[in-house]
Symmetry: C2
Subunit: 222 residues, 2 copies
DNA sequence: CGTTGTGAAGGTCTTCACAGCC
DNA sequence: GGCTGTGAAGACCTTCACAACG
């Protein structure tokens, strides 16, 4: 959320600049699009087509990576993939803890995209003694109190909140107490965290509301 | 991501103006925040606090609704709730079909927030004959071929794609063929649809990538 | 008084258009 | 010729600041 004042990072081998969040989101999609690409080189136009965007934007976005496109040809597929992976912090393995072993937590734990895209689920937690000890999607369900232990390399971990709204804040507090500073919140409520902790929120009802609003409009005009 | 057709909308006879998508998303959150509100009136500052936003923005957003705030007091809770519901197209019941009865589809079908926020799941579909006929989250699983039948009031329906990437486009085509013009796509791939069909995309990997990128930054500066 | 409603300012993101390069 | 890289323009979004008002 609150990012530090724009400051140059000393990354080995280059000067990185701040990349807007929207661009990061699209980079993620470019990466997915590249996964299905067998040609050794790809043009901004082709990449836009495959990722659902537009060519000028692709070029602007890749500009943030100091991407090595070749004029008249396009971008080297393998090199571009590496650069995007690097800029998304996927050079090292990212570990994910999921809190909440209900329907959503189960879906997340079993989501094949996680592993494919560089994330490893390293713990699924639930407060219910009925669930602790069972297994979902191949992961043992652990007690909430074990979060701390699991989070031994805090800075590389992401915590996912997949519990009902009423429990979201308490879970957030626990994640923060365990040293996790990066949280994805699926509960339909905001959570408060100390400065330095980054929360992203995904709310299914909100997505439906947006579609519903636009339906209303097309009903009005149609 | 595909955004709404950039057409200017002239609602006949009305004073309704276009509401930016970001504002619509926040309206959804204001609505959620109001659900937990018992006071008869609420200030922009209080609403901002409860919804995780900022007061000036709340006032700007509510301005799009011609909201009837009372200076020195705040907004009438019940009235505001109604206005937001109306502007989100929740005056009528919105029906949702979910395609894909895997982990994610099951989680969505069982998500209590849907019903609470004005949406009714009216069909869960899957291509697997093994699943058709079973029940998930209280909904019978139907065959894909029944989508058309289910979508008798097309304009009020929202289709949710909860299938693997490889099947997403085919499912999108089927939804469109059934007359559905509003789609929420959870598959990690874009889908192509004809003009007039509105697609929103939610990608879990992308959310994780954004967090991962920001972790990288804080590792660099920390 | 406290709070809304809103023009104006400031910032960010997207699109355009074309120079530059292979 | 074809495609990238990018400044400039334009659209959009957020924040500020304060007048208007109950």
């Amino acid at each position: 959320m609150r990012n530090p004042p724009p400051r140059a990072l000393s990354i080995v081998g280059g000067v990185e600049q701040k990349i807007p969040t929207n661009t990061v989101a699209r980079l993620s999609r470019y990466l997915a699009a590249l996964d299905g690409e067998s040609e050794s080189s790809i043009s901004s136009e082709a990449l836009a087509e495959k990722s659902g965007g537009n060519a000028a934007q692709v070029r602007k976005d890749l500009g943030y990576l100091n991407a090595a496109g070749v004029r008249g040809v396009g971008y080297d597929t393998a090199g571009l993939r590496n650069q995007i992976r690097h800029s998304l912090g996927l050079g090292q393995e990212r570990r994910v803890v999921i809190v909440g072993a209900g329907n959503l937590g189960t879906a997340l734990a079993g989501y094949p995209g996680f592993a494919e895209r560089g994330f490893r689920v390293c713990g699924v937690f639930d407060k219910s003694p009925r669930l602790v000890g069972t297994e979902i999607a191949g992961h043992p369900v652990l007690a909430l109190s074990d979060i701390r232990e699991c989070a031994s390399s805090p800075s590389t971990m992401i915590g996912v909140i997949a519990v009902p709204a009423g429990a979201a804040q308490i879970v957030a507090d626990m994640l923060v107490a365990a040293g996790i500073i990066s949280i994805l919140n699926f509960a339909p409520t905001p959570v408060h965290v100390p400065p330095g902790v980054d929360v992203r929120r995904v709310d299914l009802s909100t997505e439906l509301h947006i579609l519903s609003h636009r339906l209303l409009r097309s009903e009005g005009t149609g």
